[in-house]
């Protein structure tokens, strides 16, 4: 009887513990801790392709070699779409990593939630390898609030006009966009003429991804204004912006411009571009990987966005941010990792050898100027002149996507430029009122 009761008690305890550990084990993870041997563990998290994650692991290995008292554990998430969901859940349950990436369309949410460690003091300390002024100031975007810096850009990707010399030649275009840009002659008129010729030759003129940088860059490059200095959306009341979006929309509607997101599966933008079926493809430095893998990178180069007068204008720069968990138990070790990761040497290490981005910090630009593409300096100029997603938009989760959905209707011919901007204004106003 007694034995049976003991067995029963043990069985019940084991069952309960097993069930709970199975259940809660799924939620485990989270930040590092001080080890018994004095070594501190820093857990950090990001998304990325297998190639990018390999580069990060190489960085981790080098960092641990240089800092034997700190162990670094990378918690990767393959898909950007799932990354912030997981991070949010971890933050809510107190199991978030010590250091983590945040996308530029999500940063505002995390900044407003007071879950990120203020970095001003740490960045100004003697141990810092990243002073606030070292970063390209236009890239901070919504990562700064009330003079508090809560994250800094890991690197950047100016949305540039990559062009295919073979496709341009096929369309009978003899002028070179990058050369025109360097001469101050890269005008909107020139660009649209080239696109008309490409379209007439049965080729795609330009391929754009449908996101904030595309519509706001077009408005900005054409002399319009999307948001004013107070963060209010003003494009719908600015005649220049309305006219610019009307022109932009028309070129999509007659299929000269194409929304890359909507291209058929199996015949996506990358394959269209590397098979010389499109003149321009608007995206970041990671295009190098695409064109190099296709085998004829010498046929591609990069140019800035055209402007009415040919003078360069600010355009969108996509970034991701690195932040420190405000609740980290290993503050010093986390900052050591953070500052090394973002430092000139850290960015050089991560971005060398045709890396996927442009440095966000002074002194690392040489990685971009490694000989490819011919006009690589354009990427640096665009970064220095460019802007991050407007804080008003970036601070509301999902707002950027919702605005893009409205713009898609303009590109599909369901809305005029004025209607698309009016709807965007209404949406932004409703989502940001009281904020």
């Amino acid at each position: 009887m007694l034995r049976s009761r003991k067995v029963l008690t043990i069985a019940t305890t084991v069952t309960a513990v097993t069930a709970l550990s199975l259940g809660l084990g799924a939620c485990s993870g989270g930040g590092g801790n001080g080890g018994s041997d004095g070594q501190q563990t820093v857990v950090w998290s990001t998304w990325g392709t297998p190639q990018e994650l390999t580069r990060y692991k190489e960085f981790d290995a080098q960092f641990m070699k240089d800092h034997p008292n700190i162990k670094v554990v990378l918690q990767p998430v393959a898909d950007y779409g799932d990354y912030h969901t997981k991070l949010l859940t971890e933050l809510a349950s107190g199991t978030a990593p010590d250091v983590f990436y945040i996308g530029d369309d999500q940063i505002g949410k995390f900044v407003n939630s007071n879950v990120l460690m203020p970095l001003n003091e740490l960045m100004s300390s003697k141990d810092s390898k990243t002073k606030p002024d070292d970063f390209a100031q236009g890239l901070l975007g919504a990562a700064e609030k009330d003079d508090k810096i809560l994250a800094e850009p890991n690197d950047s990707n100016p949305d540039a006009l990559w062009y295919d010399k073979v496709a341009l030649k096929k369309a009978g275009i003899t002028e070179d966009p990058a050369t025109l840009a360097s001469e101050g002659k890269w005008t909107t008129q020139k660009y649209l003429e080239m696109n008309d010729k490409l379209h007439a030759a049965g080729l795609t003129g330009s391929m754009f991804w449908n996101y904030w940088s595309t519509h706001w860059s077009w408005i900005s490059s054409q002399g319009g204004k999307a948001f004013d200095d107070n963060g209010d959306f003003v494009a719908n009341t600015d005649p220049t912006s309305v006219a610019a979006m009307d022109t932009f929309g028309k070129y999509f509607q007659d299929k000269t411009f194409v929304v890359a997101d909507t291209l058929p599966s199996g015949a996506g933008a990358d394959s269209v571009f590397v098979t010389h079926k499109a003149g321009f493809f608007i995206q970041g430095r990671y295009t190098i990987g695409t064109v190099k893998s296709a085998g004829d990178p010498q046929n591609y180069d990069v140019a800035p966005w055209p402007t009415p007068d040919g003078k360069a204008a600010p355009t969108g720069v996509a970034v991701s941010y690195l932040a420190i968990n405000d609740k980290t138990k290993v503050k010093d070790a986390a900052f050591t990792f953070w500052t090394n990761f973002l430092s000139k040497d850290g960015q050089t290490f991560r971005l060398k050898g045709s890396g996927n981005a442009v440095p966000s910090i002074k002194g690392a630009d040489s990685v971009v100027l490694d000989g490819y593409p011919d006009h690589a300096q354009t990427l640096l100029d665009m970064r220095d002149l460019g802007f991050e997603d407007y804080a008003t938009e970036a601070q509301v989760p999902g707002l950027s996507t919702d605005v893009s959905d409205i713009m898609l209707k303009l590109y599909q011919g369901k809305l005029t430029g004025q209607q698309a901007l009016d709807q965007s204004a209404q949406l932004i106003s409703s989502k940001t009122s009281g904020k």
Binding site: A16, A19, S113, P264, G398
Partner: protein, 320 residues
């Protein structure tokens, strides 16, 4: 000494309880019951942790505004008002109902046909295994396979293009075709389970009833429509309830098959909408309200189905 006290005294002496006295539970029965609790404990703990707690949390959150990180604030019925006036919720509702209305009858109809066809087949087990394979395959894997099949250069599109001399359809990028693609995958992946259930139901029909109908001169068609189908109706009823509830909860297929419930929200279902509100837009209060609305919808539809039960479901006499 009263009669009753005599009885109790007698009972104490004989070991037999007096009439009306509470019976002491046998030790073996007590032990069995305790072991029973041990064996159901994992399931009960799982239910508590993963069903009951989240359900209560959703019920509470439906009346609050919460982004997952900052303190929550109570907003009463505002979340419900927000959802009921949200055009995206309406779109999700319509899409979900379309999926349910299309996949349930077609899926069950096909399953009945296949089950009848397999009933007399000697190689039934092989076919059952083939039909059942999608059921035990991860829905993510199923969606990824179909994603490849639905490509413009995939076998389905190329076959259609060649047969009808039309441009190869891009199923997942065309707002008119994307939802049809979701329905096709849903029907295909649930067919095996329904076939197995219906086959069991068909084999449960009493041979004497079939024999009697044959003696009365019933042909194959009459036998099916007047005898076997009505007697299979309880099983069909059960399957229809399960299938309807399952189609109201369509998420994983949509999540993997198309990006962002696209194109242009053509495949946005209620559960995807809830996920998007919660984890995409961090509006956990509104997402919880939407999930409560889904619960109410499910209960209403199930109640309606039970209402139809009296009219369409026939039980074999003595079977119930």
């Amino acid at each position: 000494m009263t009669g009753s006290s005599v009885g109790i005294a007698d009972a104490a002496m004989t070991g037999v309880p007096a009439p009306g006295a509470p019976r002491a539970e046998a030790a073996w029965r007590r032990r069995d019951r305790r072991w029973g609790y041990v064996f159901v404990a994992p399931q009960m703990i799982g239910m508590g942790v993963f069903v009951l707690v989240p359900f209560i949390a959703a019920l509470v959150l439906a009346f609050a505004q919460w982004d997952g990180l900052t303190p929550l604030s109570w907003v009463g019925f505002d979340n419900f008002k927000t959802e009921l006036t949200d055009p995206l919720f309406g779109r999700a509702l319509v899409n979900t109902m379309l999926i349910a209305v299309v996949t349930v009858p077609i899926g069950l109809g096909l399953a009945v046909i296949v089950a009848v066809a397999l009933e007399r087949l000697k190689t039934r087990t092989l076919y059952l295994a083939l039909f059942f394979a999608p059921v035990i395959t991860s829905s993510i894997a199923v969606a990824m396979i179909w994603q490849q099949l639905f490509r413009t250069d995939g076998i389905i599109s190329r076959t259609i293009a060649a047969a009808f001399h039309v441009p190869a359809p891009d199923w997942l990028a065309d707002p008119h075709l994307a939802l049809i693609a979701v329905c096709i995958v849903t029907i295909w992946s649930s067919l095996g389970l329904n076939v197995v259930i219906f086959l069991a139901g068909l084999q449960n029909i009493s041979p004497s009833v079939i024999e009697a109908a044959r003696i009365d001169g019933a042909g194959a068609v009459a036998l099916f429509f007047r005898i076997r189908l009505p007697l299979l109706s309880p099983v069909i009823f059960f399957s229809s309830i399960i299938a309807f509830i399952s189609s109201l909860q369509t998420f994983d297929i949509v999540f993997v098959l198309v990006a962002n419930a696209g194109p242009d929200n053509a495949t946005r279902t209620i559960v995807y909408h809830i996920y998007d509100l919660g984890f995409g837009k961090t509006q956990f209060g509104v997402a919880s309200a939407a999930s409560i609305l889904l619960l109410i919808l499910t209960l209403v539809i199930t109640a309606i189905q039970f209402g139809f039960q009296k009219r369409f479901v026939h039980y074999e006499e003595g079977a119930a």
